[in-house]
Symmetry: C2
Subunit: 211 residues, 2 copies
């Protein structure tokens, strides 16, 4: 089970590392961080570096493709090398997945055409321009394409995917291993729950530093 996790400068770290922490624990998983070039990619805050261990050409045919988001996903939407790789990897993949605005890259590659999909709540409208049907759910599955909502949603997506790949008992064991029994101290994690002032605050910030 070869899993390709695309990384790039200005990605959002948790988009990638949430699913990594789940999927890398699958028995027989061979998860690799893949970049347009190998080397360290700095995240959108600049404060964290994640290493791309393989170039795109070194893993053209993963079983699972995962595209995280972050401001750095926007330039990828017009990067022919990346889009060609995404399209080609998708052709042979068992599962093609995204977290947050990683969905916009799948969309730019034409993969979401006519499909139900989700992304970070502040970018949901963008999916329609890319031919998808935006769905305001945490994880959306359409055929072999699974898209997750913003940032932390990748953990939920990956646990469901782990069960599809290796069965529920393995997924339960992974959930217990990472003690994923979430107890957020506040209930402000979606625009349906957050105070309007908080929503406006985040929308404003997204304008300057897209997630």
């Amino acid at each position: 089970m070869r899993i390709a996790l695309l990384v790039f400068d200005n990605l959002t770290a948790l988009d990638a590392v949430g699913p990594y922490e789940v999927l890398s624990r699958l028995p027989g998983a061979e998860l690799r961080l893949v970049g347009k070039e190998v080397g360290v990619k700095r995240t959108d805050t600049g404060a964290l570096g994640l290493e791309a261990d393989l170039a795109l050409s070194e893993l053209p045919d993963p079983d699972v493709l995962l595209v995280p988001g972050g401001a750095g996903s926007r330039p990828l939407m017009s990067d022919r090398d990346v889009l060609d790789w995404v399209r080609s990897a998708h052709q042979g993949s068992t599962w093609t997945t995204s977290v947050c605005t990683g969905a916009l890259v799948l969309g730019a590659a034409g993969i979401l055409q006519g499909k139900r999909a989700t992304t970070h709540w502040a970018y949901l409208d963008r999916l329609r321009e890319l031919g998808a049907e935006p769905v305001s759910e945490r994880v959306v599955e359409d055929g072999k394409v699974i898209t997750a909502a913003g940032v932390s949603a990748g953990i939920d997506m990956a646990l469901g995917l782990a069960a599809r790949i290796a069965g529920e008992q393995v997924a339960h064991a992974i959930q217990l291993g990472i003690e994923y029994d979430p107890q957020p101290p506040f209930d402000s994690g979606s625009p349906a729950k957050a105070h309007p002032n908080v929503i406006e605050l985040v929308r404003g910030a997204e304008g300057s530093r897209p997630t």
Copy 2:
């Protein structure tokens, strides 16, 4: 607000990246990944490299200290350079925090003596040997020391800490920004909820690859 996130070989990535994703979004935060030596540290699965940008001596006096866990935390428990740095950083810190088995490093540094603390559920007993009072809660605060349970608990801990540092509205905005509205597909994230077979499976795996 200078935040030091200790990284080392064989750490668990999500222990570090969960809190990073929350705390790096605090207004005025200057979060740095600090290692015994600068350079890329490989995680416990070997599949992911995180870069330490500063050596310990370059950030001796952070406002917030965060120690993640993973198998690689065990050698740190007898590493004089690291323990000296942890003790010294703790002396001047506003908050000293850990995720998962990072608590064992705080304990080995003598910081948990007589304190209520938590860690990954499979390692809770170890805290007593280090002079702490083990508490089976997701986040435990005792004075300026905050310890979180296993791996994913660092996200919950960091959100609470964000509110303490910058107020609840900022914490709510961060939660909404990372769309942290968790919807795990299964309810197997703690030993109180998981099936006994799953608990045994994880305990067995912890023996060979401690979290």
